[in-house]
């Protein structure tokens, strides 16, 4: 087995046992990137020199006998909307194509302090707005399982990088499904933590009441290790929670007989791909066979989630993106007066989807419409939260598909924004409710593409999600899921 095929946990153990160095591991991933990146395009920026420096430092410290973080020497890829000090951070937008942050996001600092070599910054939909990573101003990322297909989005670069063996772990961000949906398309785990669990400081804002940083990983234990690292209160983010953070990796043992599962009717709709539904049901049967209580549950306001989300998120975005005016950083289109400078910079700097959302949001917040759109949507959000709180009185986990279909073809939905928005239909109500949600790979479609199942728990219960994922893993549900048929033309893996 090659080093780049191994999980973060395995790579950590090999280093602790002194069998492999951080430099060897990092070299293996950098070589893998060189080999497959031309056909995947997962990265906007690569940072091999910095990664090797970190690895050399880790090896030195280990040699000296220093106490190291379990993830020391385990490389990582980071979505390009997380600020990295002195390293290009573009949000996949022309408006930030020259932006060199003077500071790092709190989560990026945490990765660095743990000794994780940063391999590079991953491609995404511009400003995290999209479900396919096709909205990047720079490049289209391809799904490693089938390079004619999208990796999902908006954290498509991070998901593709992990799936293709270019990084054992990655960070993405999830506003309305942007970690979970690409994870399901690429056959990896994707976790959206409880809103406030992870600091948003240095995450370039899209919709502040929804944005949350989350990991993409190969298995539950890897996911737990990186969640440990990035969780916790940050004085620099007033919405980060003062809650204590448990050691998520400490106990991943699940007793299925004590588990109560609500099968979300709306997220297993008759209109979904039948194989997606069958795979999810097969998983749930496994829990049931081993003693879990399984019942159908309805979250009655789910059908209103899409409407509420596509008012709230664009409204917040239109406000957050007001800062891109060509004055303090980023693209500047010139102009003889301020308004011309602002309008030209924004008109030329933003892509079509970002403009659409700014327009919807500006409209929904404008005088005369605020009550009917934004305020109404915030009230619907309350109803959606109540659905969840009611369901969590009876169930530990709410389960459904992570996406109605497996990965679709590149270009298939780019002409119809509404069709693209519908891709997130399984993911957005969890985001509106602020609850933790995990997408796990649960098998392959007959067409050879991964299928994802989404599990949701009440606030702060990321632990139960990881335990359930570990249980499925143990039962052999997603072992042979490190793939890349599309990349294996010469016998590859």
């Amino acid at each position: 087995m090659k080093l780049y095929e191994m999980s973060a946990t395995e790579l950590s153990l090999l280093q602790v046992r002194g069998e492999v160095s951080a430099v060897e591991i990092t070299r293996s991933f950098l070589d893998r990137i060189e080999e497959v990146e031309p056909s995947v395009n997962a990265f906007i920026t690569l940072s091999p020199t910095a990664a090797m420096e970190t690895a050399v430092g880790v090896d030195k410290r280990r040699h000296r006998g220093d106490k190291l973080h379990p993830l020391a020497g385990v490389p990582v890829a980071v979505k390009d909307n997380l600020c990295t000090n002195n390293m290009l951070t573009t949000c996949a937008s022309k408006v930030l194509d020259n932006f060199i942050p003077p500071y790092s996001a709190t989560v990026v600092t945490a990765l660095h302090e743990a000794g994780m070599p940063l391999l590079g910054k991953t491609n995404m939909d511009e400003f995290a707005m999209g479900s396919s990573t096709e909205n990047s101003a720079f490049q289209v990322t391809r799904n490693p399982w089938d390079t004619e297909r999208v990796p999902g989005g908006s954290s498509g670069g991070s998901a593709a990088a992990v799936a293709a063996g270019m990084a054992p772990l990655a960070l993405g961000s999830d506003t309305g499904g942007s970690v979970r949906q690409p994870a399901s398309f690429c056959g990896v785990l994707g976790l959206r933590p409880t809103y406030g669990r992870v600091s948003r400081y240095g995450l370039i804002a899209f919709a502040s009441s929804l944005d949350q940083v989350g990991p993409l990983a190969l298995n539950a234990h890897d996911c737990a290790l990186i969640l440990n690292l990035i969780s916790g209160h940050d004085p620099l983010d007033s919405t980060s929670l003062p809650e204590p953070v448990p050691d998520f990796s400490d106990d991943l043992e699940l007793d299925p007989s004590s588990l109560r599962i609500g099968l979300i009717r709306e997220n297993l709709s008759e209109q979904f791909d039948p194989e997606v539904r069958a795979s999810v049901l097969k998983c749930v049967e496994l829990f049931e066979k081993n003693g879990a209580l399984v019942e159908q549950v309805s979250l009655p306001h789910t059908d209103y989630g899409l409407g509420a989300y596509y008012l709230i998120a664009p409204s917040e975005a239109s406000s957050n993106l007001g800062r891109y005016d060509g004055v303090r950083y980023g693209f500047n289109a010139g102009g003889s007066d301020l308004e011309t400078l602002f309008s030209k910079t924004r008109g030329e700097g933003f892509g079509a989807e970002v403009k659409r959302r700014i327009m919807i949001g500006t409209y929904a917040l404008s005088a005369g419409y605020f009550d009917a759109y934004y305020l109404k949507a915030m009230k619907v959000r309350t109803l959606i939260r109540r659905d969840y709180m009611t369901a969590f009185e009876k169930y530990d986990l709410l389960v459904g598909a992570a996406s109605p279909t497996p990965a679709f073809k590149i270009g298939e939905k780019t002409d119809d924004p509404l069709q693209m928005y519908l891709c997130d239909v399984c993911n957005i109500t969890d985001s509106l409710a602020g609850v933790p949600s995990l997408s796990v790979p649960v098998g392959l479609h007959s067409g050879g593409l991964p299928i994802g199942m989404q599990m949701t728990a009440s606030p702060f219960r990321e632990g139960i999600l990881l335990k359930a994922a570990a249980y499925l893993e143990e039962a052999g549900f997603y072992r042979p899921l490190r793939p890349q048929p599309g990349l294996a033309e010469e016998g590859g893996l």
């Binding site: 239109s318 693209f331 327009m359 924004p417």
Partner: protein, 102 residues
């Protein structure tokens, strides 16, 4: 209810300080009308007496200690500025500009 965005598109683009060409405006009219029509499904719901959610978790606001801490040095803050002069961000002259729209 359909939304005729044609009447709104110029006004909203101006509010958002977003230059759109005529082709973009034409597309926006169709696309935004359709999106808003879908979003309007929420109007079916009775939300009388329902409090809006602005923060998902009912936690008290966390306040930091009111103490001055070092900020980034000026040259770092200005490092990305397209135009700067003497420690300031530079913009087109405001007082001299003629801007009939204002």
């Amino acid at each position: 209810m359909t939304v005729d965005f044609r009447k709104e598109v110029d006004y909203v683009a101006r509010l958002a300080r977003l230059d759109l060409d005529s082709e973009e405006k034409e597309r926006m009219v169709g696309e935004l009308g359709a999106i808003l029509k879908t979003a309007q499904k929420i109007r079916e719901l009775d939300t009388e007496g329902i409090e809006p959610t602005s923060h998902v978790l009912d936690l008290p606001a966390v306040l930091r200690e009111d103490k001055v801490k070092p900020s980034l040095p000026l040259n770092r803050v200005l490092q990305n500025a397209p135009h700067r002069r003497q420690g300031y961000f530079r913009v087109p002259s405001i007082t001299a500009s003629e801007n009939p729209a204002e």
